[in-house]
């Protein structure tokens, strides 16, 4: 599958999904006018890519600094997809959860993700 690269704008994140090496990264801010419309094609591609994989390790770098409620909901379903993959292929998904030390909102969401998606290896990284 072709890699996805979408540069950041002020209200949409940088999406750097290197399917060729299974390194998926997102950074920046996310509050697009229509979050579902913006993220749906990306999620679809991720879903079909995961289906084509046979236990290859996947690394996800989550480095967003702000995202609105609609985006939060979408990211949750994205991690659900990764969790499903890791369930059929244990110990393959590593989620690097970057957050600012002071940002309790993103930290808490990370804790929820960790609790709800136990097949994902969760690695919290405090941004310097």
């Amino acid at each position: 599958m072709t890699d996805i690269y979408i540069p950041a704008t002020s209200d949409t994140p940088e999406i750097d999904f290197k399917f060729s090496s299974n390194t998926l990264s997102m950074s920046g801010e996310a509050y697009p006018e229509n979050g579902v419309e913006f993220f749906r094609p990306i999620l679809k591609q991720l879903q079909s890519h995961l289906k084509s994989l046979n236990g290859a390790p996947v690394e996800f770098n989550f480095q967003l600094t702000y995202f609105n409620s609609v985006s939060t909901k979408i990211f949750y379903s994205m991690f659900e997809l990764l969790n499903e993959y890791a369930k059929s292929h244990p110990n393959t998904v590593l989620l690097n959860w970057h957050h600012d030390e002071e940002d309790d909102t993103i930290l808490e969401l990370g804790q929820d993700i960790q609790e709800d998606f136990t097949w994902i290896d969760f690695n919290a990284i405090v941004l310097a």
């Binding site: 702000y66 609105n68 409620s69």
Partner: protein, 184 residues
């Protein structure tokens, strides 16, 4: 407007700690520009980042709510309008938003907000988590965030969120004015 009146308006705004005020057309472009201005403003005021972020998040949830759900302004084509204010007084930030709603949606909004107003911080957190997991999203064609928006506001507010629905002067039959307030 006379310069005298404007000068009183400005002084009143300053005395009341108004950091940011906008009233007019609400589009994503306007929101992006306001976000820029508000961020810079908050950076200057608040040395700690955590609260600034909550103020910013509240601002975005409220103004995007106005953009998505307010009906088009009568006699103004497809444009949406809203008013939003960020103020700081005695070490608390207040974010208040006002926009038109269709009268027929009044009950729906009350039914969503009234239970949240009664919740403790812990209950809000539980409801937020439940809503995050709830994937009945696609069946609700009116709500874009599946109800997570109001809970996000409630979660970040240090006092219960407040709201009011008033008659829209001149359009009493079809529209109401919806006010929403959070304290951070």
């Amino acid at each position: 407007m006379l310069i005298d009146v404007f000068s009183v308006f400005r002084e009143e705004a300053n005395t009341n700690g108004i950091v940011f005020y906008y009233s007019g057309i609400v589009s994503q472009n306007v929101i992006k520009t306001m976000s820029d201005s508000l961020k810079q403003n908050l950076q200057q005021q608040d040395e700690k980042g955590a609260r600034s972020r909550k103020v910013f998040s509240t601002f975005i949830e409220m103004i995007q709510n106005a953009m998505h759900y307010s009906p088009s302004v009568p006699d103004a084509g497809d444009t949406k309008e809203g008013s939003i204010l960020v103020s700081k007084k005695e070490d608390k930030y207040y974010v208040i938003c006002a926009n038109f709603i269709q009268k027929q949606h009044e009950t729906r909004i009350r039914n969503k907000l009234d239970p949240i107003l009664e919740m403790s911080a812990e209950e809000i957190r539980q409801a937020y988590r439940a809503q995050l997991k709830n994937d009945q999203h696609s069946e609700d064609t009116t709500s874009k965030g599946a109800g997570l928006g109001f809970l996000t506001l409630a979660r970040d507010s240090v006092e219960p969120i407040e709201y009011a629905i008033r008659d829209a002067v001149g359009y009493e039959d079809e529209l109401s004015c919806f006010y929403l307030k959070a304290t951070i």
